[in-house]
């Protein structure tokens, strides 16, 4: 623990001072080593997952399942999950829900946040308190289910979108962002004859690309990862999103045959490889958006949480 303290404020202007204040070498090496090990603990499982998904059949069978490094490359597992069966369909469902859901969420949240950010608009105080109070409690599981059922949304894709479409927290974050847009910009647009919606579309949205990006990505990750609502509301296996397929065939280890995958049953890659290929397919989209998320999220999270 002797190494775990710091001396100066991070930031470019201090870099020189920092070296003078640097903790003693042994401590620094210890911290560095510990962090290196922690990073390995996070990363190594992924290496094994990717390796198992592409390892040749014989190697996977010999190892009894999980391999850390492939002795060759065999993409048979990917061919089988993309052959048009259960996994392909679930992937399409998940992509569809994520895209449609994110567009709806982002637009609805931004409009509400904008309406709440205009000073003195009618009813905004009341609506704002509706938003804030909703942060206080989560309606229970059973009442949620009953409402979705009453709306006739069971076994509908909308059940995976509408109940989670609006995050009150995201609305608050967006609102505080919109409130910081210089009034002069909005007023000058008004003088030029723009209405409220015009100002929103042509002034506010273009100026808020950063916050829209972060919140859009948060919504997208949420839709992509959603598991329980699908379990609760979707009985029809043909409408399952990827996370449910993942639970059934990877966690619960149900056998995926050729008929499920839409391919011939002979010479199917080992189950372990197929399972890991499904896992890879479900992780890759997160990895793709991650760098974008990361560039902004410190900002996004902090405006919401610390500054508020």
């Amino acid at each position: 623990m002797s190494a775990t303290r710091s001396v100066t404020v991070p930031g470019p202007r201090n870099t020189k001072r920092k070296r003078l204040d640097a903790p003693p070498l042994p401590g620094r090496m210890l911290t560095g080593f510990a962090l290196f090990v922690i990073c390995l603990v996070v990363l190594l499982p992924f290496l094994g997952i990717v390796s198992t998904s592409v390892a040749p059949t014989s190697q996977v069978n010999d190892a009894g399942g999980f391999v850390m490094w492939p002795k060759g490359l065999d993409f048979g597992a990917y061919e089988s999950i993309f052959a048009g069966g259960v996994v392909t369909r679930a992937l399409l469902v998940s992509v569809g829900i994520t895209v449609v859901g994110t567009v709806i969420s982002l637009f609805v949240s931004a409009m509400l946040a904008y309406a709440l950010s205009r000073p003195g608009s009618y009813g905004s105080g009341f609506i704002l308190s509706l938003v804030l109070v909703s942060l206080l409690f989560a309606p229970g599981l059973i009442p949620n289910y009953l409402v979705v059922k009453q709306f006739g949304l069971l076994d509908s894709y909308w059940a995976l979108i509408l109940p989670t479409a609006l995050s009150a927290f995201n609305v608050i974050v967006m609102r505080s962002f919109f409130m910081n847009i210089p009034k002069e910009l909005i007023e000058s647009a008004r003088i030029d004859g723009a209405g409220d919606f015009g100002v929103f579309l042509r002034i506010v949205l273009p100026l808020s690309k950063a916050v829209l990006a972060v919140i859009g990505l948060f919504y997208a990750v949420g839709y992509w990862n959603a598991f329980f609502n699908a379990l609760l509301y979707i009985n029809d296996t043909a409408k399952w999103p990827l996370q449910l397929v993942l639970r059934t065939y990877v966690i619960n280890n149900a056998q995926l045959g050729g008929a499920d995958l839409g391919t011939s049953s002979d010479a199917l890659p080992p189950q372990a490889s197929i399972q890991m290929a499904i896992l890879v397919v479900s992780i890759v989209p997160i990895l793709i958006v991650y760098p974008f998320l990361q560039r902004h999220f410190a900002k996004g999270v902090l405006t919401g949480a610390v500054k508020g």
Partner: protein, 332 residues
Amino acid sequence: MTKLDDRVQPAAGTRRTAPPPAPVPRRRNTWERIKRDKVLLLMGLPGVALLLGFHYLPLLGNLIAFQEYLPFVPLGRSPWVGFENFAVIFNGDPEFLGALRNTLVITLVQVVFVFPAPIILALMLNSLLSERIKKIVQSVLYLPHFLSWVIVVAVFQQILGGSGLVNNAIRAAGGDAIDFLGNPHGFIALLTSQVIWKDTGWATILFLAVLSQIDSSLYEAAKMDGASRMRQLWHVTLPGMRGIIILLLILRLGDSLTVGFEQILLQQAAVGRAASEVLDTYVYNNGVLGGQWGVAAAVGLVKGVVGVLLVLGANKLAHVFGESGVYQKESR
């Protein structure tokens, strides 16, 4: 134009719904203002509709806690039974008590082991000299937060499962495989290690932000006074983090009754319900799966009410400690 206070302060830490904006002198005036703001109101409408439909309307669904719910009868027609459904709580049904106990034990264990982890990690990250290495390490450590619980549980299976990495190594070394995932006694340890793996990195964000705001002259002054590095940690760093630590700890306690629902649900089959049932899974298993809708709703309702009280109490407590709490966030 009447200048209205749009920024009606969200009444700090109270449950009171703020009244509609200041009383308007004349009706005509209200109507004019609605007309003036009709575009804004229309823009807010979809969001408000979602909020009412999927957040406020379900509150009404709690009424079935007082009914003997018959799934194929229209919602209002089921017979009313008063507080009968609450009997499991008041009479101390063993299954319910087991779920309550598991919930509280898991919360306690996680406060002890999960809560301090990001603080330690943030201090380690903060001591890194190279900004570039720090960025890389952060990128790696934040990643698991964005994976779903389904993925995290699947990853853990690959490492700790019967044919997973660890057991393969044990067998290769001539030992007997260990049943990490199906052992009821190890279940809470398993849950805790998963939460640490998934969320510790992400949770450092707030602590790192606070660390970067500690005034560096405090460290200089401490050094002038001959404070060792350990003493600087004790007298400058930790006091600087006190506020955020207390705030987050109180918030966590306010959330005592909620523990990783999806995470536990995914792994219940392996360890059995006795060891793994928590309040949320109790509601799901008995209600949606077991058909005891009324009882499940009653337990869910009590959990929800106690949860709100805990959050409000936590917020009060935060104020007592001189922290701003959560519901003053808007006050700037």
